[in-house]
């Protein structure tokens, strides 16, 4: 016999993990071990599945066999129904991990005469439990007994006994019950099962339905009290403990490129922080998706995994459109690095979107998540709800160190900074794309509105979509504002012309100078020539004079010789002569 664990007064209540994604987090461990839990809710809200998953996970993951006692569906129906969720019930039954017992009560077949009790049910359940050594039991939906057995007094007394008996058996039990008008269950089962009550709900608001789960009570344990959206899909149940997250993300200093060099340059030349949240907002047709696609391509080239949620375009359309700017995403999809997830925002409610996001992210484990665009969610929903949802997504992604890039469509008339679902405070890097309408043209401008933790550029750049991707250009800021497009080109031409004129001027000045220098040189040369002429004449005269003097001297000497006079008096003689 199993140990009656609930009887030991541990400081911590023993809990049996359900293995249901997210549920164990809400309840800090699972359902109370050795005690019955009431799972109630309306028709089609997933009670049976909750119970079944509890058993299957128990049997497969925690080695706790379980008994499923069904009061509604036959064994065959059950097996078929849960097979669609990937549970191999037949195999588990064969391996004696799970026992399924269908209890059928046909009111018309039954005649009541005198005293009776429900010992038969106890024996059957007890037999099933003992045969496979079950630690978990699901009774689905025991309230059907009320329809089959006319004597309510006996029934209620027996149910009370049954729940005590389950506790004594020490099995962790789930009892499901239909929701009543005023009470949690139609027959007031909550009277008997009071340790843990879980409410499932299937609510339709604005034509979209959302499944929600709430832990109404959990004796002796803390638990999340909110309504948590949950999801039933091909992998069973998953509950989202979205608000349990605190602001305790691990922060990375690593930077990753935006895929556009010029944009990286605006962000200290390094790009975004890994694990940060990037918002690209702008009016229609400014190229938000193109920037997202650049980022996607860059990430895939680095070998990172990217999950791309598109809420407006189909993946094929998006890939085709991106080809026009020279980005081919298809190879990455084939390589399995890129996964598109295309759903209309109206496909399900907000919580469901959140749930789906969670789920896919958990399965795909991307490095980067792109949501394009986020504000289509506002359709039919209040902005505050959308904000909460986005916040949850941001928190979730941050906690998982996933870089998120959101695009957001702003309308032309609303102030550009305020219209982004009020989520600006959640955003780390906010890049704004805006139209600049000027001189009959509509051009694109891009600037970094904010970027936490980096010295980002304050420049407005012109943003051009070319057939080889996005290009950023310097813009002119003149007296009439920012010049873009052909105005910018005109301005460029104007400046070019000016430069040309200047160049011409300089050339001219240079030539003038050259000319002057030449003139000067000529002058100097002619002066030199004059001087040389004069000089040579002067030399000639001097030479002649010198010749003269020499001749005179010679004459004197000759005269003296002829007179035979003393040389000393020669002169006088000559004069006398």
């Amino acid at each position: 016999m199993k140990k009656a664990e609930h009887k030991t007064f541990n400081k911590d209540l023993l809990k049996s993990p359900t293995g249901i994604q997210g549920f164990d987090e809400i309840t800090a461990g699972g359902l109370p071990t050795g005690r019955p839990t009431l799972v109630c809710g309306g028709a089609g809200c997933g009670k049976t599945l909750f119970g079944m998953e509890f058993l299957v996970r128990g049997a497969t993951q925690f080695d706790e066999p379980g008994v499923f006692m069904s009061f509604e569906e036959t064994n065959e129906e059950l097996i078929k129904n849960v097979a669609s969720l990937g549970f191999d019930l037949v195999g588990l039954i064969r391996n004696k991990k799970i026992a399924v017992d269908h209890v059928q009560i046909e009111r018309s077949e039954i005649e009541e005469t005198g005293e009776y009790d429900l010992e038969g049910l106890f024996i059957r359940l007890g037999y099933a439990i003992d045969t496979i050594g079950a630690k978990r039991v699901v009774l689905d939906t025991i309230e059907s007994l009320f329809a089959g057995l006319p004597n309510q007094l006996i029934l209620r007394a027996e149910l009370r006994r049954l729940f005590h008996w389950l506790k004594d058996k020490g099995v962790t039990a789930i009892i499901t019950g239909e929701r009543g008008d005023e009470t949690l269950t139609r027959q007031g089962l909550e009277e008997y099962v009071s340790d843990c009550v879980i409410m499932l709900d299937h609510r339709v608001t604005e034509q979209t339905s959302t499944r929600r789960l709430r832990v109404v009570k959990y004796r002796g344990s803390m638990h999340g009290t909110n309504e948590y959206p949950f999801l039933i899909d091909e992998n069973g149940f998953s509950v989202l403990p979205i608000t349990s997250l605190g602001l305790k993300h691990i922060v990375s200093n690593k930077r990753i490129s935006s895929g556009i060099t010029a944009l990286d340059n605006m962000l200290e030349g390094k790009g975004y922080y890994r694990g940060s949240t990037v918002l690209i907002s702008g009016t229609a047709g400014v190229g938000k998706t193109s920037i997202a696609a650049h980022f996607t391509e860059a990430a895939c080239k680095r070998g990172e995994r990217v999950l791309f949620f598109c809420f407006e375009e189909s993946p094929n359309q998006l890939m085709r459109n991106m080809l026009s700017i020279g980005i081919n995403l298809e190879p990455w999809v084939r390589k399995g690095l890129l996964q598109f997830q295309a759903t209309r925002p109206t496909f399900y409610g907000l919580e469901m979107h959140l749930a789906v996001t969670h789920k896919i992210v958990n399965i795909f484990k991307p490095d980067i998540v792109i949501l394009d665009p986020i504000n289509t969610f506002i359709v039919g929903d209040k902005e505050s709800e959308v904000k909460t949802m986005i916040m949850r997504i941001v928190d979730f992604l941050k906690a998982n160190q996933i870089t998120a890039l959101f695009t957001s469509l702003t309308s032309n008339d609303s102030p550009i900074e305020s219209s982004d679902v009020g989520i600006s405070s959640l955003i780390d890097t906010w890049i704004l794309l805006r139209d600049i309408e000027l001189s009959g043209e509509r051009n694109r401008g891009i600037y970094v509105l904010k970027s936490r933790g980096m010295a980002n550029s304050n420049q407005i750049r012109e943003f051009i979509l070319t057939n080889h991707g996005v290009e950023l250009r310097e813009v002119y800021i003149g007296a009439s504002g920012v010049l873009t497009g052909s105005a910018r080109i005109a301005q460029e031409a104007l400046e070019n012309a000016e430069v040309l004129t200047r160049k011409h001027d300089i050339e001219q000045k240079k030539r003038e100078l050259e000319r002057k220098r030449n003139a000067l040189d000529t002058k100097i040369a002619s002066l030199h020539a004059d001087f040389e002429l004069e000089e040579s004449e002067a030399v000639k005269i001097i030479e002649t004079e010198m010749e003269m003097i020499k001749r005179l001297e010679q004459d004197k000497m000759e005269m003296a010789v002829s007179r035979k006079a003393a040389v000393k008096n020669g002169k006088n003689n000559k004069l006398k002569k």
Partner: protein, 113 residues
């Protein structure tokens, strides 16, 4: 307490008569141990059968404490339960069979019916 020994036997037949299969009544009484209710039920059943179905009935007593696996076959919840296996359709009567009239209704044995 006559029933006591017979409980552990699986089958207790009433007076053996070679009746045709069509007329034969096969009744099963499910009990769980020798509870007062079980004994009352058996006594009542025996009395009714002997009065109304003399010679063409057999009563099978199944003690679920001994053979718990048999409970599922006839969808037994309440104890004691009397199951009319034959003639068809199968009928179930729960309780200690103390209300003879209801038992007769349950077994389709009321005169005129």
């Amino acid at each position: 307490m006559k029933a006591k020994k017979e409980n552990s036997n699986k089958i207790k037949t009433g007076k053996k008569h070679d009746t045709t299969e069509k007329d034969k009544w096969i009744l099963r009484l499910y009990i769980a141990g020798q509870t007062p209710k079980a004994i009352t039920a058996f006594t009542n059943l025996k009395k009714i059968c002997e009065e109304k179905l003399e010679g063409k009935f057999s009563i099978e007593i199944i003690d679920l404490l001994i053979n718990p696996q048999l409970g599922a076959e006839d969808q037994i919840l309440a104890l004691p339960t009397l199951v009319r296996k034959l003639p068809v359709p199968v009928r179930k009567i729960i309780g200690d069979l103390s209300n003879t009239e209801r038992v007769l209704v349950g077994l389709d044995l009321l005169p005129g019916s």
